[in-house]
Subunit: 318 residues, 2 copies
Amino acid sequence: MQEKILDSLRKKYDYVSGDQISQRLGVSRQALWKHIQELRDAGYDIIAVPHLGYRLESAPDRLFEFEVLRGLKTQILGRRIVYFDSITSTMDTALQLGLKGASDGTLIIAESQTKGRGRLGRNWFSPKYKGIYISLILRPEALPGSVSILTLLAGVSIVEAVKEFTGISCEIKWPNDIIIRHKKLGGILTELNAEMDKVNFVVIGMGLNVNNDKSGLISGATSLKEQKKDEVSRVGLLQEILRCTEINYLNWQHKGAKPILDKWREYSMTLGKRVKVYCQSEHIEGEAAGIDADGGLLIRKDSGVVKKVMAGDVVHCR
Amino acid sequence: MQEKILDSLRKKYDYVSGDQISQRLGVSRQALWKHIQELRDAGYDIIAVPHLGYRLESAPDRLFEFEVLRGLKTQILGRRIVYFDSITSTMDTALQLGLKGASDGTLIIAESQTKGRGRLGRNWFSPKYKGIYISLILRPEALPGSVSILTLLAGVSIVEAVKEFTGISCEIKWPNDIIIRHKKLGGILTELNAEMDKVNFVVIGMGLNVNNDKSGLISGATSLKEQKKDEVSRVGLLQEILRCTEINYLNWQHKGAKPILDKWREYSMTLGKRVKVYCQSEHIEGEAAGIDADGGLLIRKDSGVVKKVMAGDVVHCR
């Protein structure tokens, strides 16, 4: 109902009479008033003038289900949304929902996370209303070994969405950091539930700093606001991320890993560079020579030997 | 407390005075009586004779935590047990507990399952007190691609445990059926929760027909009781399965996949046979020529081409 009331108010940028809304939506004036109050509580600035009616002055940049669905250009991703104002971690919730059979494309959104998770058990700082913290449940028909590409696919999709929506160019640092001018804008965490010969579901988590002020960022991080010197619509950016991810996802299903890998190489800041990869207790140094379809980074050591690393942290030597 | 009372009664195969037990365990006679009643309700046949005391006539073959722990010869597997008289599926519970951080080796036991799961979404018939229906949570330090061996490892361990405990020889039909004389004794289902570059945990599910009568078996299935013409202690067999699995598991961690693969080949009824593998809509026919460390079956077609199949159903051509 609140969604329909907002639609009514959004149809013209002027006052809409309460009687008109009540009649069209079949609710009493009293019920309408209550819904308007709830919308105000949620951050919608709606003014009411006797004899004129209601007018929507401004909408908050909240990732409410109906805001994300309004104008969403996808067929699968985000068609079902589970929204939280605050949650421990969208990953944990997505995994639980996945076990319970949540459908392909289900999107878990949180305005903040109290235990946001990053790769290898690290934390992801998730201040309220500042970033995009989401997990997507996907159910590709695939073998467990073939879905590593989805982390690369998610990185490629974020780079494309940020470019399309804000004009800002990001790079990808292996394996899954989204980087602007050597600072971290976002990260991707992909988790898998599978039988040995069948993927049950994959959860792709994305964390992105959007409207964080410089003072609200941890060291080495950046936000789109800091880069653009202006607020960015999180709803609009999320919709664009979902659109780009869906295009790449369908492309992968129809044409395999190659188109994704080609794009990843193009957006990568790691390939061709001299790197040190720290991987548990040891490290490997050499030239980042290539990427494998399973997400492994190929390092050409000075001896000429090529080593593949699957996990670790890259330091770009300068 | 009930465990301690049983230990007292088991110390000698004669009457033990209630006073003696009360004093040793520091409980009142009244409390002792209540515990004895509860043990009787659980199936323990305890007789009480005035002036003589209590005597344990017989114990039920229940997979209670304290029964399984009594004399269990493992360091990791089954040291923490979660027991259910009835449950939908030990796999679902194990996956939920795994997400919540259950420790390495946690064992979920159910006396019956209402929605027991088999490979590829199939059912597993789990009548009460007749079989062993368990899921083991393991947390190996491994990449997702390297844990397929665990399904083979589980099969090898069951074959060894059944042989050791009952003298009966089973065979393994690819990928994970435990077979006696062309009838199915049990199955294995392995599921995985992982990041792209790190296994969080693996759940190995085992379902085994133990004391099912012939009339309580579905077509094509057999039980140890049917084969042995005698009841088999489920507690004893489960302990042996855990022991064998742990030995193989530690062996895999120290020496890699080869010892497991060697044993699997030895116990396999598939290798060297002419087979048809049905895999979704198509099928491949040829000789089962080998097994890969990722669990894939290598089929040598009549053309000489070798194909690897990861999932499917094998029909042995005769």
